[in-house]
Subunit: 238 residues, 2 copies
């Protein structure tokens, strides 16, 4: 197997455990708005469930690119409305801090060691729909040793738009087939492969709290398939 | 003095010593094209001398943005012609490798320690006209611990265009006055100040081999003035 010249990582779900972090933070915020008896994991799931629809909506609507923080805030307000809360009645500082919970997601237990080992041999960059400020704050808090923060905000296009993948390769001065996307999501990998990238899957069975992944039907035989970033480092000889 | 919320660094001359590195590499390449008796430091100076003119030319001409690697190559070929060599007669692989000397610049002796100390307290990002691939290769080779690689290629505008500074602040979700440019060049700092940024000067008397800086007339009283990045770390309490 030819090795890639760089590794580009999906982040939410692949490198960090969004569900546990968002549920833990949402427990506190829900209590502050009088919903302390509701299930914070269900709130995390509801918030995230709007994500894929938002990405597709961005592309179909032709809406001008906005950073993911803006979309997360819209999804937060929609989730609150679905739960019977008018966000206009909530304290603005509380909503802003709640939204920034996405800046504070915890890495999966293997992520820092895995990235550090992989970085010794390959450039490691983000290829995430997260915006730069979000990914930078997350990296500083979690100790994620990125070589560069690239992806949607830098390209101006959200995955799975091919231009998000191709622009990342272009910025690295690589042909698409020299770049490998590392992701826990078969849908993301399928879009990367369609643009010519190599693909490494990381299994994260707990991403949805044990529920099936919404994009399982995109599963294919990927160049690499791993159970963690340290396992991937083993497989790539790092 | 109010402290900034992040530090954005000029790179060529401020963090890395372009002149010594380019002269050392050019000595070998000049020998390969039969100019081994010429002064490689003078060639480095000639190559770099076209830089400011190229930046201004990009802006005035309305030319579509191209990565700095492309401009460096044009400047290399122009320098060769000035030295009586037709670049069309040179080996393409040699020219490409010579141009990539800018990816391999050595840090000033204080740079890695200074950045590492500053990073403990502040996000440290590039605000350089260098392209992502160039800055990433340089960081990996020299051990420069950037939190993020931003600047011209990400904004689509070359310094001293105000949009290069303002877009970097925007990507960090900071007001311009919350961001501090760290640079060895008074002209760069003056443009940053005009866009509202804070400014930290780093004196690099050897940048031009002891010759005066071409932008000395832009000197002002900056928020901080330092003799090295470790000195700046001392002044910022890092």
């Amino acid at each position: 197997m030819t090795l890639p010249k760089a590794l580009a990582f999906d982040v939410f779900g692949t490198v960090v455990d969004w569900r546990t972090s968002i549920a833990r933070e949402s427990a506190g915020f829900l209590a502050q708005i009088g919903l302390g008896d509701r299930n914070p994991s269900a709130f995390a799931d509801a918030w995230r469930a709007q994500y894929i629809a938002a990405m597709i909506g961005m592309r179909k609507s032709g809406r001008e690119f906005v950073p993911l923080d803006v979309l997360h805030r819209e999804m937060l307000e929609a989730s609150l409305r679905d739960w019977g809360v008018d966000p206009a009645g909530c304290d603005e500082a509380l909503l802003a801090d709640w939204n920034r919970a996405w800046h504070r997601l915890d890495p999966w237990p293997d992520a820092v060691e895995g990235l550090t080992r992989l970085k010794a041999r390959f450039p490691v960059v983000t290829l995430s729909n997260g915006n730069v400020a979000l990914l930078l704050a997350m990296a500083r808090q979690g100790g994620l040793p990125w070589d560069a923060i690239l992806g949607a905000e830098v390209s101006g296009f959200y995955k799975p738009d091919p231009r998000a993948y191709l622009r990342t390769a272009e910025l690295l001065q690589l042909a698409p087939q020299e770049l490998c996307l590392v992701a826990a999501h078969h849908g993301d990998l399928a879009a990367a492969r369609a643009s010519g990238l190599m693909c490494a899957y990381v299994d994260r069975p707990d991403e949805y709290g044990g529920a099936p992944a919404p994009d399982a039907h995109h599963e294919q035989r990927w160049e690499w398939s791993s159970t963690s970033l340290t396992d991937l480092a083993d497989q790539l000889g790092c």
